[in-house]
Amino acid sequence: METSVVASLVSKSFGHGNHRVQALDGVSLRIGRGELFGIIGPDGSGKTTLFRILASLMLPDKGRAYIEDFDTVSQYRDIRKIIGYMPGRFSLYQDLSVEENLKFFATLFGSDIEKSYPNIRPIYRYLEPFKTRKAGKLSGGMKQKLALCCALIHNPKVLLLDEPTTGVDPVSRLEFWEMLDLLKAQGITVIASTPYMNEAMRCQRLCFLQNGKVVGCDTPENIRKAFPFKVFSVKSADKFRLLGDLRNFPACHACYPFGAYHHFYYKEGTIRMEELESYLASLQHEEIKIKESEPTIEDCFMELMSQGGEHGN
């Protein structure tokens, strides 16, 4: 696969003296052309800063980044012609209508709505019924679709999407990712961050960011395969007490709540299900239910985060 986006040892910090915050710390990435690449990480892990540096909107303190072989610092003008960027915060004009916003951004790129229509048609058809409505009066999902339209209007080679589905209803989120699949099929490089693990699963490759460092980067499949533990899903009547008791069990590597169940990680062969069941029964837990599960991407995420935390300390 040809390379589309490169970040090499990118570092960035904000503030002064004691309040200095290291937003990015030696981040290196290589993303192929036409790849759908996901960036996940907790709040404050440096995702937005990374997007802004890639979009040429911020200067890195150290390291370099390239988009389609253009340097993000010295060749920012060339980069701005070929990227589409959707900031994390809605940044279109709220007092302009859907159509006026589109027209404005089309003109900025030396195009117009008619010429760009093929690029945006699959998304714009959702918006067309509301084209005279002010952008500020759109629902969250519609706003994001409009922002995506504006980012796509000049047929960019690389699309940078900073949490495009945060605060959007599940149906719109699904639609949004279906659109990204379409764009990927057209050969556009798409880099998106998301807090939702089911969305992350749709990416070809994923990168975990924590405290400004890349703590893992691979396909979702490989990330799951590399998970070094087995997982029990455990449930009982008293969920809260159960979590503490599971964590106190000697063979427990870690245990996190996941919806109705707690995920209990252990080294293969260290315990059997019956042992755990009798341990919980001895602690007067009722309605105990234990089953073996495949590790999810979220399990991997939690594990990578706890490792990253240990490295950090």
Partner: protein, 368 residues
């Protein structure tokens, strides 16, 4: 170029869709002109006069008629004694009283100096001295005209000739000042928040990622305010002519040219403030405290620059409004041509180019 017009169109939408701001922008000049014209005026208009005529001769009645005839004074009370006059003052009904002594006519006929007494309510000293001065002039002129041949002996009047504004009409001088103030408010204050607002709202992020030229972004911001300012300028001029009878003695075109230059300078200054301010509040404070206040106090709008301490006079050189007000007075009231305003005009243009250049240079193509 198409890009530039797209920017301009967008800016017009922003302004015209913000109904509240629009209303303020359009009403402010009218209100300001009316306030300055009527409330802060130092003109005498229909001041009520009480007269105690102890002479009661054709001469004295002639004087009273003369006072009553103009638009400045209105003789409301004719009293029999000065005791009654005092009562009226205590009630606060009148501002000024005139007592004509019994021997007024005899003295006049004998070619001697006549004496009349003016009693003024000096609780507002400024107003009292103006009213007093006006009435003295009328009385002096009367005695001169009545017996023209004996002019040197009869009565003593200091002849003052008020140049350019013979009636000392304050409207004449305040109009260029108000134009200067209103345009400064609209151009500088409004534009000073415009760029920093886009940074605060986050729209700058989307704008910067597009290949847009900074000069377009900056220039397009000034265009709608330029249009609005010219509209306001015309409103103020029409109001001045029809409500306050202010003449434009010089060339109207010249005045228009001077105003447009001033508008341009103010816009560039506003844009400059916007590029250096971090937040909308800072931009507002700079424009209001750093600009409006000095403009009102130091530009010659309210107080004559010549009577200020040297330091403040020096400061006033930095205010665009100072140069505009000078130009305005030269053209509107003195009726002189470009030969007398070229220096002020060049200074304003220089300021505009300086601010524009600094803005384009200081425009940040990245987020900070």
């Amino acid at each position: 170029m198409k890009q530039f017009f797209a920017f301009v169109e967008k800016e017009f939408y922003h302004i015209f869709r913000d109904k509240a701001t629009m209303l303020i922008i359009l009403l402010m000049p009218v209100v300001q002109v009316l306030i300055f014209g009527f409330a802060i005026t130092t003109d005498i208009q229909n001041t009520e006069v009480a007269v105690v005529d102890l002479s009661n001769t054709p001469d004295s009645r002639g004087l009273i008629d003369k006072i009553d005839a103009g638009t400045y004074f209105h003789v409301t009370e004719r009293l029999a004694s000065s005791a009654q006059l005092e009562k009226l003052f205590k009630k606060g009904d009148i501002k000024i009283g005139l007592i004509i002594p019994p021997d007024f006519s005899d003295d006049m006929a004998a070619g001697q100096k006549t004496k009349v007494q003016l009693v003024t309510d000096a609780s507002n000293p400024n107003e009292a001295s103006i009213v007093n001065g006006y009435l003295q002039n009328i009385i002096g002129a009367y005695s001169l005209n009545r017996y023209p041949g004996d002019a040197p002996v009869v009565g003593t009047t200091v002849e003052t000739r008020m140049l350019y504004s013979p009636q000392l009409k304050s409207a004449y001088t305040f109009v260029p000042g108000v134009i200067g103030l209103v345009l400064m408010l609209i151009c500088t204050l409004m534009t000073s928040v415009s760029i920093v607002r886009e940074r605060e709202l986050g729209t700058m992020e989307a704008l910067l990622v597009a290949p847009s030229k900074p000069i377009y972004i900056i220039f397009a911001k000034t265009v709608p305010y330029f249009a609005v300012s010219i509209f306001n300028l015309l409103v103020i001029i029409l109001l001045s002519i029809f409500a306050f009878d202010v003449p434009i003695r010089g060339s109207f075109l010249m005045f228009f040219l001077a105003s447009i230059t001033y508008i341009f300078t103010s816009l560039c200054l506003g844009i400059f403030i916007s590029t250096v301010s971090k937040t909308q509040q800072i931009a507002m404070i700079i424009s209001l405290m750093g600009l409006m206040l000095p403009t009102v106090l130091l530009s010659g709008l309210m107080f004559p620059i010549e009577s200020m301490p040297a330091v403040l006079q020096g400061l006033s050189y930095l205010l665009p409004a100072r140069w505009f007000i000078e130009m305005g007075r030269i053209i509107m009231i003195k009726g002189l041509g470009f030969g007398y305003i070229w220096m002020q005009w060049t200074i304003l243009m220089g300021m505009a180019i300086l601010f524009l250049g600094l803005s384009v240079r200081g425009f940040k193509v990245r987020l900070t």
